[in-house]
Point group: C2
DNA sequence: CAAATAACGGACAATTTTGTCTTAATTACA
DNA sequence: TGTAATTAAGACAAAATTGTCCGTTATTTG
């Protein structure tokens, strides 16, 4: 599996936040219901993103979460890196430590270009891209 | 994580088998020691590959495993598909069922080309490619 | 100020993956 | 023929991931 469930949930949630018209807070419960994500689990995922500054939150009535930065400057790479770590973008396919140009594993030539394409694309696509596409093309994020 | 540990072990082991000069059987214990893979765990991974015909095995003294087909016709795709399933090559990045050209998710445009490149490359590279590279370039598979 | 709302944080349970151990079945060979 | 070697198979344990529950803290509103 490329991404953990936690990471998939995080991406869904942040795209949804990027789609909001104003900057008011959305409750996590609302997001969880929208995409049928276990509420308390989503809470923990969003806490990670909050700690990283990608998401802002306030407690209490009318509280909730919203993006902590301009959706233009939040990339898919950022979200994945916070939740799953950067490993998927850098690690050896066979898990060998130190695998690289100097001491490659047998799969290095195969995997390195794909991994690089993946990282570059993920760094190039912003939440704004994803969110505006979702609105303009009426895409579904969940369900 | 792209591949499970089971799958990484399976790839290491089959490359090693592809590197053997003759077609005699290699004991699983030998392979496990070579790459520091938990023996009984590797046993189960190789059983999967044996059931799929990618590997052949015999019990008893002088028993062990060897490739069940010409290394030319075994691809990296085959090995990954047997152990981890084909999901990684086909599934939606966000895990949405039915995501595709008709009803794409927001990440589809991003992920589909990478996934396709990954699948095509994996189908194009054989165990012979990997094994002969490992020999000629003196690459390491493990440790 | 009180009550309702909602994120935070910790404990705990379920599930999946990974790893270990034991026994059975099969084969080679002395 | 019997002993050692080796895969097969199942039970079980450990660890990681996923999911649930509950009490605390903070905020809005009446």
């Amino acid at each position: 599996m490329l991404l953990t469930s936690a990471c998939k949930y995080g991406i869904q949630a942040t795209i949804y936040l990027g789609m909001q018209k104003d900057d008011s807070f959305v409750s996590i419960k609302k997001i969880a219901e929208e995409f049928t994500i276990p509420f308390h689990f989503l809470t923990k995922v969003l806490q990670l993103l909050t700690q990283a500054g990608i998401v802002e939150s306030t407690k209490g009535a009318k509280g909730g979460v919203r993006l902590g930065k301009d959706p233009d400057v939040i990339t898919l790479f950022d979200i994945i890196a916070v939740i799953d770590g950067e490993g998927i973008f850098h690690d050896c396919m066979l898990g060998l430590p130190g695998c690289g140009l100097n001491t490659p594993c047998p799969a290095h030539e195969f995997w390195a270009p794909i991994r690089t394409k993946y990282e570059k694309s993920a760094r190039a696509i912003s939440l704004k891209d994803l969110a505006s596409d979702t609105i303009s093309k009426n895409l579904r994020i969940g369900k």
